[in-house]
């Protein structure tokens, strides 16, 4: 990573297991990465790969099973409740579904004011000041002032997501986890929200962790990308490198599956066998083994870790360097 830049968040050996009737569910398994101030880390993977759980574990919305999360150099997993509450001002989240994440009984201005009241940035007495701040936030995210007294059900998805963003911004955070913030929206609205988030990042120097299953969105938005499969990181690289030279067979298949809106674009889909396997009591070794076109016995090695294949580009695959694997069908 660039040494001139200040590291804001570092995650070490993060694990989150859930106890289920079927056994231990390895939702997030030994994840390591860091994010620099003002940058965006994209996290991609398919449903059930643990990307949302990871986002929440970092904010301690799910208590991690193991590992360390350093925010500005301090391990926040050691924080007690009151210190954690203080920290929430700095770390916020925007949720996926703007239809489910807003309280239907709060008006727009009440919903935006709520986090500031909870954090005691304003008291009931500063009503006028608080309302001014709400108006400022609404303007910032592009919500018309006349919507102040509207309820969420009166608004479309794009506007609701703007409320979610305003709420997250209200505490002046440094770091925001964006959990699929645009996947419920139509493309023209999606573009509006992505531009808004980009402007806010430039203006306020925000750091984002951007979780999504949409590879075109993540490419557009991120400085670095982590690809996850069944709770584990399979590849991590600066965005340009990842798209130019995907090394892990899963990343290759994932990239090849995106339909490009150009009839002349040569599609070279790698069709994977089967579907994502269960994260409950997974077998040791590479979790992509069963679907991987290149799988060999050596892939059952239980200690496949991330290896650096070029500066900043890490891959977790036992067969790196194997000439068979090298071919990138969409290069």
């Amino acid at each position: 990573m660039n040494e001139n830049k200040k590291e804001l968040l570092r995650v070490e050996g993060l694990k989150k297991y859930f106890n289920t009737p079927g056994g231990l569910l390895h939702a997030v398994d030994n994840v390591n990465f860091s994010i620099n101030e003002g940058e965006t880390l994209g996290v991609v993977g398919e449903s059930g790969c643990g990307k949302s759980t990871m986002g929440r574990a970092i904010l301690r919305l799910h208590e991690p099973t193991e590992g360390k999360v350093f925010f500005e150099g301090h391990n926040i997993l050691e924080y007690d409740k009151s210190k954690m509450k203080q920290l929430r001002r700095d770390m916020q989240i925007v949720f996926q579904d703007p239809f489910a994440s807003l309280n239907p009984r709060l008006t727009v201005s009440e919903a935006i004011a709520a986090p500031m009241l909870i954090q005691k940035m304003y008291t009931k007495k500063d009503r006028v000041e608080l309302q001014k701040q709400v108006s400022r936030l609404m303007e910032m995210v592009g919500l018309a002032d006349r919507l102040k007294n509207s309820y969420p059900h009166e608004l479309d998805g794009g506007r609701r997501q703007r409320i979610g963003i305003a709420r997250a911004l209200s505490l002046k955070p440094k770091f925001i986890v964006c959990d699929e913030p645009v996947s419920a929206l139509d493309v023209s609205i999606q573009a509006q929200i992505l531009n808004l988030m980009q402007d806010l990042q430039d203006e306020l120097g925000l750091t984002y962790m951007f979780i999504t299953h949409n590879l075109s969105v993540v490419k557009h938005f991120s400085d670095n990308i982590v690809v996850m499969y069944l709770g584990q990181m399979v590849e991590m690289a600066p965005t340009e490198l990842l798209f130019k030279n995907p090394v892990h067979p899963y990343t290759q298949a994932l990239l090849s599956a995106i339909p490009i809106p150009d009839p002349d674009y040569p599609m070279n889909r790698i069709l994977m066998k089967g579907e994502i396997t269960s994260p409950i009591n997974p077998e040791p070794g590479c979790r992509f083994y069963k679907r991987c076109p290149y799988a060999k016995d050596c892939c059952k090695n239980p200690n496949i870790g991330l290896k650096e294949v070029e500066p900043g580009h890490f891959v977790s695959c036992e067969r790196i360097g194997d000439p068979e694997l090298k071919e990138n069908p969409n290069a």
């Binding site: 531009n195 599956a257 339909p259 490009i260 809106p261 150009d262 579907e275």
Partner: protein, 325 residues
């Protein structure tokens, strides 16, 4: 226009929903044509009227509140809107079948998947239960599900497999036309690739025509022969895949295309279409897109523009269609 190859022709179809909040003008005179063995992709955003059109063709519009006001749906020369309900039932599943968007909710949770496939086979064929069972098992194998799993219930399958079961049901009687309403929207991208591949394979085998409804311009580019862009209940641009993608003329089509983050080129800032889709209970009088269009003039706001032919089969609903912009 309509020739021997035309399997389905929809002419000026108007569909409205009469609700307490006013009349929703869901479809305002839509005309499309599908040729034998070809795929037409209909693209548009939520609420554009894509699903209403699909349901209108099969006469599945819930009534009330829905109402087919006027128009014709010619299938093999017959107007489906004039058929009795009983005759219509012989068309559905046998001649035209439909794949619905959400595989999680469109299967019957208390019937085994084999029984659900058999149901449509027995409905349209005069054969014994044993034979139907055999055919259902063949269908399962065809879509890549082992026949042994036929006795299982939908909840025992993953999303991708449920969608395969739905495809098996839709294609069990080898229909001539398949209507697929966002068949892969609920699926992950690698599973989407598998399902699209499967649909394509089966379609080619039986020379089936398809109406594919989607909001994903990428999916259309990879699967369709023709494209129609839908906005506020109207087709605003129509043509062969190449005509529309390589020479798009309508400002809405352009805006839609520019708002997708591009995987191939790098763009720092996405272009957006300002504003929102108009309220379908209160549509603008002239061009439906005029409120959001940066080229709009007073003339656009007065009268709905006609479809203009700009060469080949390429039609555009814009008064500026023939001008360079």
């Amino acid at each position: 226009m309509a020739d021997n190859n035309t399997l389905l022709q929809v002419k000026d179809l108007v569909i409205r929903y009469e609700t307490d909040d006013g009349v929703v003008e869901a479809l305002n005179g839509v005309s499309i044509e599908i040729h034998t063995g070809k795929t037409l992709g209909l693209v548009g955003e939520t609420g554009a009227g894509k699903t209403t059109l699909a349901k209108g063709v099969l006469r599945l519009i819930p009534s009330p509140p829905g109402k087919i006001v006027s128009g014709e749906v010619l299938y093999d020369g017959k107007d489906l809107l004039k058929l009795s309900e009983e005759e219509m039932r012989k068309i559905r599943g046998k001649h035209i079948s439909m794949i619905f968007q959400d595989p999680m909710t469109s299967l019957n949770p208390v019937m085994t998947v084999r029984d659900q496939i058999m149901e449509v086979i027995l409905q349209h064929n005069n054969i014994s239960k044993k034979e139907a069972e055999k055919r259902a098992d063949d269908m399962l194998e065809l879509v890549g599900i082992p026949a042994e799993r036929g006795h299982e219930y939908p909840h025992q399958f993953s999303g991708g497999m449920k969608q395969r079961v739905i495809i098996a049901i839709a294609l069990a009687c080898q229909p001539k036309l398949l209507i697929a309403d966002e068949p892969t929207t609920a699926l992950d991208v690698t599973i989407q690739a598998q399902v699209l591949d499967l649909i394509q394979k089966l379609k080619t085998r039986d020379n089936t025509s398809m109406l594919l409804i989607t909001h994903d311009l990428g999916v259309v580019a990879q699967t369709c022969d023709y494209v129609g862009i839908v906005y506020a209940g109207e087709i605003v641009e129509y043509g062969t895949l190449r005509e529309v993608y390589k020479d798009m003329r309508h400002p809405y089509t352009k805006g839609l295309m520019a708002s997708i983050p591009n995987l191939v080129e790098n763009v720092r800032r996405l272009q957006t279409i300002e504003g929102l889709m108009p309220d379908p209970t209160n549509l603008p009088k002239g061009c439906k897109f005029s409120e959001r269009c940066k080229y709009a003039t007073d003339k656009c706001r007065e009268k709905v523009p006609d479809m203009v032919n700009v060469g080949g089969e390429h039609m555009v609903r814009c008064i500026l269609a023939n001008e360079e912009k």
